[in-house]
Symmetry: C2
Subunit: 344 residues, 2 copies
């Protein structure tokens, strides 16, 4: 236990340790709510170039840690780097979000798996730079999008069209299952590369888990996550993993039972009592403050933070938001919450 | 029990009776997937006039019952008739959905409550016509939007902006609570009028329950539903009530415990095992076939229908969709499912 007492608090929480002042980080903490992020963003010619520029990406990864006593930095990257590496065009329309070109033939995508590590090597370099600069008590998180979420973008060419992608999964089951297989392998190699480059925790972002009937949730979320993790273990990756199936609702029970993650990312609507059940089942919780409340601030924010600490900090818990921080969030709201939670 | 054996099967299910072939109806069954609906829709000058024309509204309410062995008809109307009656402009942009004018001052809205029954009297007339024409073994369902869902439209002027409305609820708690109070009273009077006009069941549509943290779910969904039902009982309405908090996720447990509904409408993502727990807790389930699967058809649809019947028909259960039927759903898919479920 001597070693664990000097390990970053985030890793200790993922090993099952509880803290009166739990470790804390915020999804999208390296992002537009920080003026220093916006200043650097302007120097990159486009968003993909920005993600694949280790100097700039490492700098924005480190920025939030300079301002706030966060317990972790998360590598600055994007979940759509995987389709890009597999050979599908990806670009970002200003103010509109990501756009993807036509879905390549399945054989071309499959052949693209072997190129993933080469094409995404700059993300490794970002991780190395960040790990070298980051204080040892802060953990470095690597991440990827989950196969289903990434597939919704690949099928529809943009975000926010999960129902249409779900319709496609009903209409073309074999093609979708093959695409999921390809994404599992590509994502496993990408995450293994991040682990080799210094990531100490891996998070799987399933941003579009909502609305899926339980059989489709099993097919498209639970089973691919479990297979992705099994493949990572095969590749020799022994890091703790956080699964974040946003919008899973009551399907979270089945997810927690079947997917061997150490950490369970919770979205804004996870009831406090439900989280306690998941904790009792052996998972470390991560979440789930409403980013809209963080932005709104005031006594309601203070009160909710106390309720969350009261409900969850007696078990293993990493304080976080239930979704990414909003670009127009006042910095002093972040400062107030992070200092309260961390006791620093 | 002699009387109950001749009551419509839908009402018997809401009294706790289980059927090998459960009663069935589909949300938005009076809608665009039917060519005879589209033909009538074209004759009305706008959507609001259509809803408030008892002759046309009664006709489209009855149309699906002529084609399919549905166990219920649901009055053709719209959840935005309440803000209209309270004095906020409401119109429908072709292909874009509803639009609302500026939110009136709160005192004007409150004063509008007394006008609700007069302005929405045509809905009563629709119910009377339908009840007179409908076979006695089919139940007639009245409905209204839940206060929070209606408020999201009133605050934002359109649908699909629940997060923005939630932000407003954080920023302006007193104003939002006053608006919820007004909507509870207006909706109670509207539903009581529907009961007096022949509705035998009332359904409360909470279309935007998703994403709410448990304290806000209690404040904006559970508590207003419970108060609405208490007010209905005060007004002498003793009909069974179905609550449909779409997207509630794990908050459904708290909802079922606190809101005295007889029927619980389930959305597409409610796990079958979770539904069984709710059934064991004394609720009649209603739902939850994925409309995207109904549209897709094929063996996967047949298999899912069997799974749902297997999981839920040993307890009180009304077969339905987990969301409204999609306009481009093939009629023979509907026919196939309804005949399988009803055994007719």
């Amino acid at each position: 236990m001597l070693q664990s007492s000097v390990a970053p608090r985030l890793l200790r929480a993922l090993s099952g340790e509880a803290f009166d002042s739990p470790p804390v980080w915020f999804m999208r903490q390296a992002g537009r709510f920080l003026p220093e992020y916006r200043a650097i963003r302007e120097t990159a010619k486009d968003f993909i170039s920005f993600c694949l520029n280790p100097e700039l990406a490492a700098e924005v990864t480190l920025q939030p840690a300079r301002r706030f006593p966060f317990d972790a930095a998360i590598v600055f990257a994007d979940i759509l780097l995987i389709p890009l590496a597999l050979g599908q065009a990806v670009w970002f329309e200003a103010g509109e979000g990501p756009r993807l070109g036509p879905l390549p033939e399945i054989d071309r995508l499959r052949a693209g798996i072997d190129a993933v590590e080469d094409i995404l090597r700059p993300v490794s370099e970002t991780l190395r730079r960040v790990r070298a600069a980051l204080e040892p008590e802060r953990a470095l998180i690597g991440f990827a999008g989950a196969p289903w979420t990434v597939l919704t973008y690949m099928l529809r060419g943009r975000g926010g069209e999960q129902p249409e992608a779900r319709a496609h999964a009903y209409a073309h089951p074999e093609a979708v299952d093959q695409l999921i297989d390809i994404l599992i392998e590509a994502t496993a190699r990408y995450l293994a590369m991040q682990a080799a480059a210094g990531a100490q925790v891996l998070q799987i972002f399933e941003s579009w888990a909502e609305g899926l009937p339980d059989d489709q949730f099993l097919r498209l979320v639970t089973d691919p996550h479990a297979r992705l993790i099994a493949r990572l273990r095969e590749l020799g990756v022994d890091l703790p993993i956080i699964g974040f199936p946003r919008g899973a609702g009551a399907n979270l029970t089945a997810y927690a039972a079947a997917v061997p993650v150490q950490g369970l990312g919770l979205d804004t609507q996870t009831p406090l009592a439900f989280g306690q059940l998941l904790q009792a089942g052996g998972k470390t919780l991560q979440g789930a403050l409403d980013p809209l409340l963080l932005r709104a601030g005031g006594p309601a924010l203070d009160q909710r933070v106390e309720e969350m600490l009261e409900a969850w900090s007696s078990g293993p818990y990493i304080f976080n938001l239930g979704h990414g921080i909003l670009p127009d969030t006042p910095i002093d709201h972040v400062d107030r919450v992070v200092r309260r939670v961390s006791g620093r």
